[in-house]
């Protein structure tokens, strides 16, 4: 009861000044009106800032480590360099670069996307690394904690250990099975190109590994179909801000392709890209102009009379 009374005490003057039967003086009207105008014009940026948006990575990675399988001797020094630099211990199972033989037997069976090449595999040495996927980034999209973020330099996709809760969803989301999991710290971990200086490249004695600029080869290779099964519903809704349902399907050839693209295209999700100061300045200018125009109009009608 006490609290209710207190609330009423605070609310009553406010309610009184707004109620209709209360004669409103000119000063009060101007005060309330002025505050309302400023408040409403300030509302836009505030509301826009308050909205929480799921993390979606559109920035393109700038580098990638590629391996030349002809030169690789399978010594595994890259794996040791990786884990020694990042984890401080030699633990090839944790390594972000994964070198092993394409053998189609053992407890695990064949590794992701490596075809068996016969019943037992072809026994060649295979080197695998994070591909630094362009948008959509499957591991980052799947992460329910938004723990896989873009980091400078080179826009690498990196696991933020503070946010990661060890749910292992990213391990399933990565089409290349390139996410490692550290059971000691219970965190996922992935290649971040050692901040622009990959230690595996430095350690490779056969010069098989090289650090090169990222290049989009998707027009030259078969199209990658991203699975959306592991994307949480909240994030999938955000995907549809850019990708309208069914919009990606219409692609033809030549002129039909152009019109298909016209039909299927979408404006980018601009607000993901920031520049809130433009909105601030814009709304401020807009309210100034509206006030000026109103003053001009009022003055005109007053002077005419």
């Amino acid at each position: 009861m006490d609290q209710h009374d207190e609330e009423m005490e605070i609310l009553e003057p406010a309610v009184r000044s707004f109620s209709l039967d209360h004669p409103c003086s000119r000063r009060q009207f101007l005060k309330v009106g002025g505050i309302s105008i400023i408040g409403i014009s300030a509302l836009g940026p505030v509301l826009a800032r308050g909205a929480t948006k799921p993390l979606i990575i559109v920035e393109q990675a700038q580098g990638i480590v590629v391996a030349d399988p002809v030169k690789c001797v399978g010594c595994g020094r890259c794996e040791l360099a990786c884990t020694e630099f990042i984890d401080g211990k030699a633990s090839p199972t944790l390594s972000r670069i994964k070198v092993d033989r394409n053998l189609n037997f053992g407890p695990k069976g064949v590794f992701a996307l490596r075809q068996g090449q016969g019943n037992w595999g072809n026994g060649l040495v295979v080197q695998d690394l994070c591909k630094q996927c362009s948008h959509p980034v499957p591991c980052a999209d799947a992460c329910p904690k938004d723990a896989i973020v873009v980091a400078p330099p080179g826009n690498v996709r990196v696991v933020d250990p503070d946010k990661c809760n060890g749910c292992k969803i990213c391990l399933r989301a990565c089409p290349w099975e390139m996410i490692s999991f550290d059971p000691d710290s219970n965190k996922a971990t992935k290649c971040f190109l050692c901040n622009g200086k990959p230690k595996c490249v430095e350690a490779c004695p056969a010069e098989s590994l090289s650090y090169v600029p990222w290049r989009d080869l998707r027009n030259k290779a078969p199209h990658r179909i991203t699975t959306t099964a592991v994307i949480p519903p909240g994030k999938a809704a955000a995907c549809q801000e850019c990708h309208l349902p069914g919009a990606q399907k219409i692609v033809g050839q030549g002129i039909p392709k152009f019109f298909g693209a016209v039909k299927a295209g979408r404006p980018s999700s601009l607000r993901e890209l920031g520049f809130k100061w433009i909105d601030m300045v814009g709304t401020a200018l807009l309210s100034v102009v509206v006030i000026l125009v109103t003053v001009h109009g009022v003055l005109r009608s007053v002077v005419k009379r």
């Binding site: 509301l47 826009a48 404006p267 607000r271 520049f275 300045v281 814009g282 102009v289």
Partner: protein
């Protein structure tokens, strides 16, 4: 009462179609840019509206440029001439001060010159610079497969975004002023009526044509084809010493 034909039919139709599209684009653009303000039910609706209205805007913009160039509309009404420098000041002074005293607008539109210098400046900038920038950046955004590739390659997404949004804000600012100033005629709906019907009413007085001071070097009215009787009538207003002394 005289009626002068100011706005040809194609331009009138274009103006109102364009107005509809601009309103749609602004509403859906606000929804896309500031999702906190629920202007439309869902984001998908806003996207659809913005996309289709955007492509309509491209067509509209191309039509306007083609029509204006071919019909001479652009050269006749938008070209800024030397005498406009003085006219700009005079017009600004009118809108800022003398309008409150109930004075007449110093500029009178005619089929030969329908915009005052300030209008020329405003419409010219909006149509030739800001609408152009908005349309070009908008097309780049529209994710036509080939454009998107180069945008990602050059990493200029943010630049295009900022340009598009700044242009949009300028356009909204312009629109507020444009709508307000369209009501500044003798009556509130005077200019709007003219934009719908094409004709603007004019009081029945003979010297109602826009007359600016002659600037030396500008082509003046030729008197060679005026018959002697009319020339005498001319001199009632244009005295030999005071007025335009042609050929000494």
């Amino acid at each position: 009462m005289k009626r002068i034909y100011l706005h040809p039919l194609p331009l009138r139709i274009w103006h109102w179609m364009n107005a509809l599209m601009v309103i749609l684009l602004i509403i859906s653009g606000i929804e896309l840019r500031l999702p906190g303000i629920a202007a439309l039910p869902t984001n998908n609706t806003a996207l659809l509206v913005h996309r289709y209205a955007g492509w309509a805007m491209v067509i509209s913009c191309v039509f306007w440029f083609m029509y204006s160039l071919i019909s001479g509309n652009l050269q006749r009404h938008y070209m800024i001439r030397r005498r406009d420098l003085k006219g700009t000041l005079r017009q600004a002074k009118f809108y800022l001060f003398s309008i409150f005293k109930g004075e007449e607008n110093p500029f009178r539109p005619s089929p030969e010159e329908k915009f005052n210098p300030l209008q020329k400046l405003a419409y010219g900038t909006i149509m030739c610079i800001f609408t152009g920038v908005l349309v070009v950046t908008g097309v780049l955004f529209s994710d036509i497969l080939s454009f998107r590739k180069y945008i990602l390659l050059l990493n200029i997404m943010k630049v295009i975004d900022a340009t598009h949004v700044i242009g949009a804000y300028v356009f909204v600012l312009y629109l507020v002023v444009h709508i307000y100033m369209s009501t500044l005629g003798p009556k509130a709906f005077f200019h709007i009526k003219a934009m719908i019907l094409g004709y603007e009413d004019e009081a029945d007085e003979p010297e109602m044509i826009a007359v600016y001071e002659q600037v030396p070097g500008e082509p003046g009215a030729t008197t060679a084809v005026i018959s002697p009787e009319s020339a005498v009538a001319c001199q009632e207003c244009h005295t030999k010493q005071g007025g335009a002394d042609i050929d000494g």
